[in-house]
Amino acid sequence: MSQANELYQQVILDHNRNPRNYREMPGATHVCHGHNPLCGDNITVYAKVGPNDVIEDLSFQGNGCAISKASASLMTTQLKGKPIAEARALFGEFHEMVKGNLDPETQPNHLGKLKLFEGVKEYSSRIKCATLSWHALIGGPRCRESPVFPSRSGGAFPPS
C-alpha cells in the first residue's frame, strides 16, 4: 500500500465526518475567510487571542473536501492553547511536509497527529486543500487580504 493510499485513513475520515471545533465564535478577536476557487473550498477560521499572544480559542466553519476539513479540524485541536509563535512554527513544518520537503519519519519535527497528511505530497493539487485553513490563520497566498496572523515571510515573491 503506497503512502497515498494511506491518506484517507480513519482519523482523517473521522475528522471530516465529525469536525472538532466546528462552530462560529461570537467573541473572536480574529476572523478570516479562506477560499480556494480551484475547488470551491470555503472556510472561515475564528480565533480568540489572549493578552500574551496565546491562542485561547480556535474554531472553523465551512465547506470543503475531506482533506481541507480534516486539516482544519486537526489544526484547531493542535493549536488551541499554543502561543502564536509556536503555531507559526508548526505551520512551517506542516507546509514543508505536505510539499514533500520534510520527512516526518527521519527529520525532527513537532507534527504529532498532523503526520497523517503526509500522503498529500503525492498530489500537489491537494496541497492547497490541506493548507487552506492554515493559510487563513497564518497568512499566505490563499488568504492574502486578511489572514488572522499576517505572514512575516514577505519578500519579493508571495509565498506559495
Binding site: 503506497s2 497515498a4 480551484l38 475547488c39 470551491g40 482533506i67 498530489y123
Partner: protein
Amino acid sequence: MTPSYLDIKSQFPVLTKAPAPGQPPLVYLDTAATAQKPKAVLDAMDQFYRESYGTVRRGVYRLSEKATAAYEGTRKKVAALLGAASEKEIIYTRGATDGLNLVAASYGGSQLKAGDEIILSQLEHHANIVPWQLVAEKTGAAIRVIPCDDRGVLDLEAYRALLTSGKVKIVAVGHVSNALGTINPIREMADLAHAAGAVIVVDGAQGISHMPVDVRALGADFYAFSSHKMFGPTGVGILYGRYELLEKMPPYQGGGDMIRQVTFEKTTYQNPPHRFEAGTPSIAEVVGLGAAVDWLQSVGLDKIQAHEHALLQYGTRLLSQIPGLTLIGTAPEKAGVLGFVLEGIHPHDIGTMLDMDGIAIRAGHHCAQPVMARFNVPATARASLGPYNTEADLDALAAGIRKIQGMFK
C-alpha cells in the same frame, strides 16, 4: 465486445504499459482534458526529428523542403477532415485557447464597436469566455449569455430573443460542453446568427475528435480546436476561418513569415493563413497532428462516435444505479462525458481516491465555473471517454465509486 465497440487500446503505449510494482493498471477516463497518443503519432514525430528535421518555408535546402512538405501537407489533411473549402482557411495555432484569442482579438477587435453585442452561452469553457471579456473591455461591446436548463440544454428561445436586439455581431459557442457533454445544435444556431447578421465562432475543442465535423455543413464561420485532444501532440492547434472573413482581419501577432515586406516606416502582410502565423511554427507538432488526422481517418470518426455513444449509454446506466450519485449533465444529445457528484463526498476526494485504484478522472470546475454556478455545485467529478475506453473501464469506475462510498460511510 459487441459490434458497436472498437478494439484499439493496444495502439496506445501509455494505456498498455505494465504498471509499476504494487500499482494498479491505468484506467484513463480523462480524455476531455487531454487524449492519449497512438503509437503512429509518436513514431511520426520521433522519426521526423531523427531523420528530416529542418526549418520550414525559409530554407533553400532539401531538409527544409521535406519539412515544409510535411508541414504544409497537414494543412491539406486538416482541410479535408473539416470539409473546408481550401487549406488556406486552416491556421496553425498553439491550441483552442490560442485560436479563440486570435479570433476575439483580430476579428472582434477590428469589427466590434461600443454598443455591439457578443452572445456566449452558459456552458462555455473559460477559453471561450475570457478572450471575449478582454475584447469587450477594449471595444465597449457587451456580453449576453444564453441560459441552459437543468439538463444542460441551451434555451434556444432565449437565444432567439437575444438576437432580436439587432446589435449582435458575434455568437461564440462550444460545439460540445466539456463539463456536461451537451452537444449544441450548431447548424440551427448558425442559421439564426447569420439571419441576424452575426458570425458564429465555434469552440470545437470537444467536438472534433468525437464525431465527424463538416464546418460548412455546420455553418461555422470559425472553428477552433487543439491537437492534444485529438490524439496529436501538445503545442499545436487549428483555427478554421472562412477565407472571406480571414481576408479582412488584421494580423494578430507580428514576426517572421507573416510579413510581405518590412521597413521601419511601413510593413505589409501576407495573405491568410500565413498572415496569422508569426514566427517559427510548431513544426514537429504539425507533423504529429498530420499523423493524428491520418489515424483518425483510418479508424473512422463515425466508428469512434458509435463506440463512445455505446459506452456513454453503458456508463450512464451503471452510474445511475449508484445511490447517492447525481449525474450533472443529462442532455438528450450528449457526447462521452459523465459528470457527477456524490452525496457527502467532495469531488476532489473522489478524484484522489479513484486514483489510488489507478482510475484517472478529473475533479474540479473544468474551467467552466459558470456551469458550476448554474448547477450550484463547487465542482464535479468527471469521467470522459475516448475511443480506447472499454466497458471494463466503466465497471472499474463504478466499483471504485462504491468503494469510496463505503469508506466515507
